[in-house]
């Protein structure tokens, strides 16, 4: 069965709320029904059919084609299935998602992976501020899942990453800020300011040292991490080929909140 494709017809006149376009909500819907779904964010009514050309049937495998930074909440609260974005994504990409996969060939806006609880997101280019941070209306940041960013990250990367509610989810989120391939590594700038602000758990892995590191992260020095080997091999299995090596500088924090999260800066 072919993927369910949403091809953007034209630059939308308003920001789009694409949170209804997730597998769980589209399953079993006819194309006509899907085209009738409202995705507008202003008083001016806007449906899927108005903004997108809809093709294909497989709601478990959704493709967005030609999207731009005004397409918000793609894959928000995703609970399974796969979403592929051929273009840019707006704000709150994969916010609060619990499982599934999201891939973006371009950049993502603010609050990408905010309050994410599980699943995987791969962003080929840059990501805006507060990625892996705290979703609107939430008090805690990312608490599970895996995010890979190929380009720059904005400020407050991984803000308030922590354990899950009542300690049930012990898995902190991680963000690997990396270039899509190693040739671009030196051309990229570091992460935005205040990365890891308020972190209690979770790992932020950087290919190169961020320019501004919070003084509340304690430097533990450089050492070998078998975990990086494990990670590299797993990424290779996910068809993400990147050389992580096995050595990194470890910074632990955020000590402002007695956090036991970490930044690993590859050595």
């Amino acid at each position: 069965m072919s993927a369910l494709i949403f091809e953007l017809k034209d630059t939308p006149g308003q920001r789009l709320d694409l949170s209804p376009l997730v597998p769980a909500r589209l399953a079993g819907m006819s194309r006509k029904d899907i085209e009738a779904v409202s995705i507008g964010t202003t008083r001016e009514t806007l449906t899927v059919g108005d903004a997108f050309k809809v093709k294909g049937k497989d709601a478990q495998n959704i493709h967005f084609v030609g999207t731009d930074e005004r397409c918000d909440k793609i894959g928000a609260e995703l609970e399974g299935g796969a979403i592929f974005v051929d273009g840019d994504a707006g704000a709150s990409l994969g916010a609060r998602m619990k499982s599934g996969k999201i891939g973006v060939t371009g950049s993502a806006g603010v609050l990408a992976a905010a309050s994410m609880a599980g699943g995987e997101i791969t962003i080929r280019r840059n990501v805006g501020a507060q990625a892996c941070g705290v979703a609107l209306g939430e008090t805690m940041g990312m608490k599970g899942g895996f995010v890979t960013v190929g380009g720059d990250t904005g400020a407050l990367l991984g803000e308030r990453m922590r354990r899950g509610p009542r300690g049930r989810r012990r898995q902190g989120g991680r963000l690997c800020r990396r270039p899509h391939d190693c040739r671009h590594a030196r051309a990229q700038r570091g992460a935005g300011r205040y990365a890891g602000y308020g972190n209690r758990r979770g790992s932020l892995i950087f290919m190169e040292k961020p320019k501004d590191i919070l003084p509340t992260f304690s430097d533990c020095g450089v050492m070998e991490f078998d975990y990086l080997r494990l990670l590299e091999k797993w990424l290779r299995d996910q068809d993400i080929r990147i050389r992580l090596g096995d050595r990194a500088r470890r910074l632990m924090g955020d000590m402002a909140v007695l956090g036991k999260g970490e930044m690993l800066i590859l050595a």
Partner: protein, 566 residues
């Protein structure tokens, strides 16, 4: 006898007494002990060693003895007063009443009233007075004699194919020429046919044939051996094997059975090495596999060997464990050299305890090591999730691809350990091969070869040192509290002292114990092992390959060597 004659369902089994020397043998130890005073000559033997004693007391029945004379007369009276010969059975209760060689004289007495009168003349007056024998004139016919000695016993036992000379019946036949002197007549047959062959002609043996040795091996509950052993140990202080009857006693085996055995043995030889037709008895276990990685293969092996070092037998070690194989960088989760280790115990709780202790003490402690799951079983065991607390709160876990990994800070960096590993309940323990040979060197070389061959196969380990065990054990011991002791039946130095399973030319026996994640894996390993052992052929010095079992009562897995070789 009037009562016997009256009741058609009554029969009489007579042990006829004859005057002269004989010997009495009985398991009625108290009767024999009481009768020791009557021993003639004055030598007797009583054996009360096994709870079922035997008494051997020589005895001489004398015609001048009132009692002996009465005993003699009563037997004859019964034969002669019985109206129906089909309900009277003849014997001398050999040797208690008389030796069976006295039969001709008894036949003579039964068939000739004048002969009886002659014997009666020598008896004490008192005996003659109380006996009715002198007044009996009946003389048994040859036909009646055949009935009481042959046909009636067969009929009473329900044996319809013998005791008569009808076509198809089973019989050895003696032919006598009619004589007046019946003693002389029955003492030397003119012709004797045995199994259809003429063996005696006119009193001379013309052909020697052997009889059959019937060998019966009825099944029995092996647990009784334990009870008997406990009983003997408690009351006699000796092993029941002291009272066993070894095969050496029956030196002449049945010819047909011997040839059959030769045929079997011919089928069960591999390069001249005899494969005994038996089976290895194995039992269900629970098992798991973990993968240990390290910066170098040397350190991965050190960690794995330390972890599996004292894990040869669940009897005393808590677990049976071993290195399954080494793993290349491509085969391990973290891309480092690794080793696959298998652990087995009798239940999941013990396996969990052993896994935690062994990984905690031997892998966590080993420089640069990491530990991962190696099995996706029907259930899971805690691995990192029970060791993480060593991190004292500094540990952290990461989930990759649905699997959780713990990172525990240690002095050389971090110990990475997967959260859980799988458990299988289909594991099998106790597969084994016993290798017998003429020299220790030959057996050791063959076993080493076999272990190497088995190490190439997946899902199995040989848990003992180098995969070989020289101290195979049996269950129990003469010493209280010792739950296992040396397998004396396979100790070459005890060949002459116990019920040994070893031929005289065997000087050494070694055992290979095999544990596997599946029964099929053990089957394959035993196949590879047998052929590796036999590779050197009989000329190398290995004589037999056999296997240990407990009569089929220990475990449901029976690995028959014949099927495995096939």
């Amino acid at each position: 006898m009037e009562a016997v004659n009256k009741h058609k369902n009554a029969s009489v089994d007579v042990g006829q007494v004859m005057f002269g020397q004989t010997i009495t043998i009985s398991g009625d130890i108290l009767r024999q002990f009481d009768g020791r005073h009557a021993a003639s000559p004055k030598k007797w033997a009583l054996n009360q060693g096994d709870g079922n004693g035997t008494g051997v007391v020589p005895y001489n029945y004398k015609p001048k003895s009132f009692v002996n004379a009465l005993q003699w007369a009563i037997g004859l009276e019964i034969f002669l007063m019985a109206e129906d010969p089909w309900r009277v059975l003849f014997s001398t209760d050999h040797p208690n009443g008389a030796l069976f060689v006295r039969y001709p004289e008894i036949f003579h007495l039964l068939m000739d009233k004048d002969e009886r009168a002659r014997w009666l003349d020598d008896l004490p007056e008192a005996s003659r007075e109380v006996s009715n024998l002198a007044g009996i004139t009946r003389e048994l016919t040859l036909s009646e004699l055949a009935v009481i000695t042959r046909a009636a016993p067969a009929k009473l036992l329900g044996l319809t194919d013998r005791g008569h000379l009808a076509p198809g019946a089973i019989a050895d036949i003696a032919v006598y020429a009619e004589q007046k002197n019946k003693t002389a007549m029955f003492s030397a047959a003119d012709l004797v046919f045995k199994s259809g062959e003429l063996v005696v002609r006119k009193g001379k043996v013309v052909r020697v044939t052997y009889g059959r040795c019937y060998h019966v091996e009825p099944g029995f509950d092996a647990q009784i051996e334990k009870r008997v052993k406990t009983f003997y140990d408690r009351y006699y202080g000796v092993d029941p094997s002291w009272f066993g009857v070894s095969d050496a006693v029956t030196t002449r085996r049945d010819a047909s059975r011997r040839s059959q055995r030769r045929d079997d043995m011919a089928e069960l030889k591999v390069k001249g090495v005899t494969i005994i037709e038996t089976f290895a008895e194995a039992f269900p276990m629970v098992g798991t596999r973990i993968i240990i990685t390290a910066p170098t293969m040397e350190w991965a092996l050190i960690s794995a060997r330390t972890m599996t070092g004292f894990a040869t037998s669940v009897i005393a070690c808590g677990a049976e464990a071993g290195i399954e194989r080494t793993l290349s960088r491509k085969e391990t989760p973290d891309g480092r050299p690794g080793v696959a280790v298998l652990l087995f115990t009798m239940n999941a709780d013990k396996l969990q305890t052993q896994l935690r202790n062994r990984v905690g003490q031997c892998v966590l402690t080993s420089p640069g090591s990491a530990c991962f799951a190696g099995l996706e079983g029907e259930k899971s065991l805690k691995l990192g999730s029970s060791l993480r607390f060593f991190g004292d709160g500094w540990q952290m876990s990461k989930v990759l691809g649905g699997k959780r990994y713990w990172r525990i800070p240690v002095m050389d960096g971090e110990f990475v350990c997967e959260d859980k590993t799988g458990l299988t309940k289909k594991a099998v323990g106790g597969g084994n091969l016993l290798v017998l040979g003429k020299t220790h060197a030959a057996v050791l070389a063959a076993c080493t070869r076999a272990v190497k061959a088995m190490a190439e196969l997946p899902d199995v380990i040989t848990p003992f040192p180098g995969g070989i065990v020289r101290s195979g054990s049996k269950v129990g011991s003469k010493y209280k509290g010792q739950i296992a002791s040396t397998n004396d039946a396979y100790c070459p130095s005890l060949k002459g002292a116990v019920k040994s399973e070893l031929p005289l030319n065997v000087e050494a026996v070694l055992e290979i114990v095999i544990d596997g994640l599946t029964a099929e894996a053990i089957h394959k390993a035993m196949h590879a092992g047998i052929h590796a052992i036999a590779k050197g052929g009989a000329r190398e010095g290995v004589t037999h390959i056999t296997a240990g079992n407990y009569g089929g009562n220990l475990g449901p897995h029976h690995f028959h060597l014949k099927e495995i070789v096939g």
